[in-house]
């Protein structure tokens, strides 16, 4: 196997509160191949977004820090770079798009200028070249009449067009890896499908690799090649999409799947996973899912399961995995 484009080893995000450190993302490891789309799934607060912010070293608060073995991308170890070196990689190697396009675009700057900003910065283009390139990128993300739209302000765009514009801003920098943080959550269903199709198209046309953060398994099922499930700051299962959807082995993954409305078309009550995830400042010694797990054994309470390769290309952190065949 060729070396992956992005190689994450033991990435942690740690919050300092008073005298104590709280680990919010715990030793995340995964690979992302060229042109691969990885779906990062988990409920709110499981650390998906924080992990990706940590990857870009753009943490939302000053008391957060990143630790880990290595994050390798394009011949660099992102954890060893200084801020200036990291800034050169942001945008050019590692782009990011966000959940809420309305607030992530500068309301006072024309769309075209915001796209051109990255183009000029990373490609050293002139103002005129950058503008032409911005129009081209807008066309690629499916904005009609890009020649005149390039001079619009964000508030003159609809929600779906703003998401396209934000993708265009990230694409202008021509990144190799695009982190998409819940890119369709704020959009209605038809627009959602259009944006997902656009992301797939971009992968095919540009060979873009993506990390798609989502809590919506439907979105992930439509787009991703592989799926990684996070629970309470840890990866609990990671494998190829079809494996994960057809034969989830971690009880939490199976529970998530069972909760998806499409999995239970005739149910009167929606299935849920009983209980709450543990508080990150008061973690149990054993498995973090133990208190909610239908499969739990005494061992689960005592020992934290490590993420190990269960079968080729499928990693699992569970003492009592489901048999390859579905819910037992």
């Amino acid at each position: 196997m060729t070396t992956p484009l992005l190689q994450v080893r033991g990435l942690s995000v740690i919050a300092r509160t008073g005298q104590r450190d709280i680990t919010l993302v715990d030793r995340l490891s995964f690979d992302l191949g060229e042109g691969e789309i990885l779906g990062l799934v988990g409920e709110s607060g499981s650390g998906k977004t924080l992990a990706c912010r940590g990857l870009m070293r753009l943490l939302p608060a000053p008391n957060l820090r990143v630790e880990g073995q290595s994050v390798r991308l394009a011949g660099h170890d992102l954890l060893q770079l200084d801020e200036a070196g990291m800034r050169r990689l942001r945008g050019r190697e590692l782009g990011m798009i966000f959940q809420n396009p309305s607030s992530h675009l500068d309301p006072l700057m024309r769309i075209g200028e915001q796209i051109a900003e990255g183009i000029r910065l990373h490609q050293g283009a002139s103002r005129r070249e950058a503008r032409a390139e911005a129009i081209e990128v807008l066309r690629q993300v499916g904005i009609p009449d890009p020649q005149s739209r390039v001079d619009n302000y964000p508030h003159e765009f609809s929600g779906g067009m703003r998401q396209r514009a934000m993708i265009a801003v990230a694409l202008g920098c021509n990144p190799r890896v695009l982190i998409a943080d819940e890119p369709t959550t704020a959009l209605d269903v038809t627009v959602q499908a259009q944006i997902l199709r656009l992301l797939l198209e971009l992968r095919d046309r540009r060979g873009l690799s993506m990390i798609l953060i989502s809590h919506d398994l439907g979105v992930v099922a439509q787009t991703c090649d592989s799926i990684a499930v996070m629970y309470a700051g840890r990866l609990c299962e990671h494998g190829a999409k079809h494996e994960m959807l057809a034969r989830p082995r971690h009880p939490y993954s199976a529970g998530l799947l069972a909760c998806h409305p499409a999995a239970q078309p005739e149910a009167v009550r929606m299935t849920t996973i009983a209980g709450q995830p543990p508080l990150l400042d008061d973690l149990p010694a054993g498995c973090r899912f133990e208190s909610r797990c239908p499969q739990a054994m005494p061992l689960c309470r005592q020992q934290l399961p490590e993420l190990l390769e269960a079968s080729p290309g499928h990693r699992l952190a569970c003492h009592t995995p489901l048999l390859a065949g579905g819910l037992s």
């Binding site: 945008g91 990011m96 500068d106 309301p107 900003e117 910065l121 202008g172 920098c173």
Partner: protein, 315 residues
């Protein structure tokens, strides 16, 4: 597409008319309710009942007040503010000749205040909680707390009397001379004004630094300097411009104190002398001019906000 946003530029001046009418009535009545008779003030020790009566008739002061007001309005429509009782000349050209120093004082103060406030606010925001931030907070607290006349006196003592750098008072003839005379009065106002601006702008900058679109700009690799210049400052200037407009309105009437302190021959000084001598025409004329200026400044702020923020649509 966006030109419609500027339609208020044509409509707003029309809305000004009722405002000015109201102001004219209020000042007209107020000035006349000050105890004292202008004719008596004018004649001083030489006043005889006959002479007073003559002066009163000459300026129409013996008519009922509403008749006087209608005369005033009629003359106003012809661009005539009446005759100054004290100077015996038309009030309008008299006021007009005093506008330049006041205008220069206000413009100079605002420019100087921005020159002081913007860098200080940036520095304070970037070193939030650090010693520079605390030092700047000390400056703004002092600037807000110290009365302008005292600050002006101290500046005169230091820069004029002690170091001899700037003239103590008065206004020059050539432009260079005028600017030289304006430095200290402008600085006096600017120190107080910038204190207000720094506080406001610092808070806006800090808020804007947390904004999502700033995170997005960082995510595409922009440096902190470019982010500040291109994204943070424009967004935080919008609320500051409105604050500035309110303060300029306040400042236009506040120039009265500074002009008296530095003996600048401006509108404010004319107003003070007009009040003491019961020079009705001059006082109401100046009041009208100041009212117009205040309304104009707010209008300009609306224009500036509209230019800066494409979302704004003023009705």
């Amino acid at each position: 597409m966006s030109l419609a946003r500027y339609r208020f530029v044509l409509i707003r001046p029309l809305q000004l008319l009722p405002v000015l009418l109201g102001i004219s009535i209020i000042t007209f009545v107020l000035v006349r309710s000050i105890p004292g008779d202008p004719a008596r003030v004018l004649l001083g020790a030489r006043s005889t009942p006959d002479a007073i009566q003559k002066i009163r008739a000459q300026f129409g002061l013996d008519e009922p007040i509403w008749v006087q007001y209608l005369y005033f309005l009629k003359n106003l429509l012809n661009g005539d503010l009446g005759k100054s009782l004290l100077y015996k000349v038309d009030a309008l050209p008299l006021i007009a000749s005093r506008i330049e120093p006041t205008l220069m004082l206000v413009l100079g103060s605002v420019a100087l205040a921005l020159l002081i406030a913007v860098p200080l606010a940036i520095l304070a925001a970037r070193s939030k909680g650090g010693w520079a931030d605390n030092l700047i907070r000390l400056f703004t607290t002092a600037g807000l707390g110290l009365p302008a006349f005292w600050l002006g006196l101290m500046l005169i003592l230091l820069f004029s009397v002690h170091w001899g750098l700037f003239p103590v008072s008065g206004y020059g003839r050539t432009w260079a001379d005028k600017l030289h005379h304006l430095v200290l009065p402008c600085l006096t106002i600017a120190l107080a004004l910038s204190a207000v601006l720094v506080r406001n702008l610092r808070a806006s900058i800090l808020l804007e630094m947390q904004a999502d679109h700033v995170t997005a700009a960082r995510a595409r690799g922009l440096g902190e300097g470019a982010i500040l210049r291109r994204h943070v400052l424009p967004n935080s200037m919008v609320p500051t411009i409105n604050l500035l407009a309110v303060n300029i309105g306040w400042l236009i009437s506040g120039t009265v104190v500074i002009e008296s302190l530095f003996s600048l021959p401006g509108v404010g000084q004319l107003l003070v002398r007009g009040i003491f001598t019961r020079d009705y025409m001059v006082v109401q004329g100046v009041a009208m001019v100041l009212a117009c200026a205040t309304v104009a400044v707010n209008f300009l702020a609306d224009v500036a906000t509209t230019v800066l923020d494409p979302r704004v649509k003023i009705q």
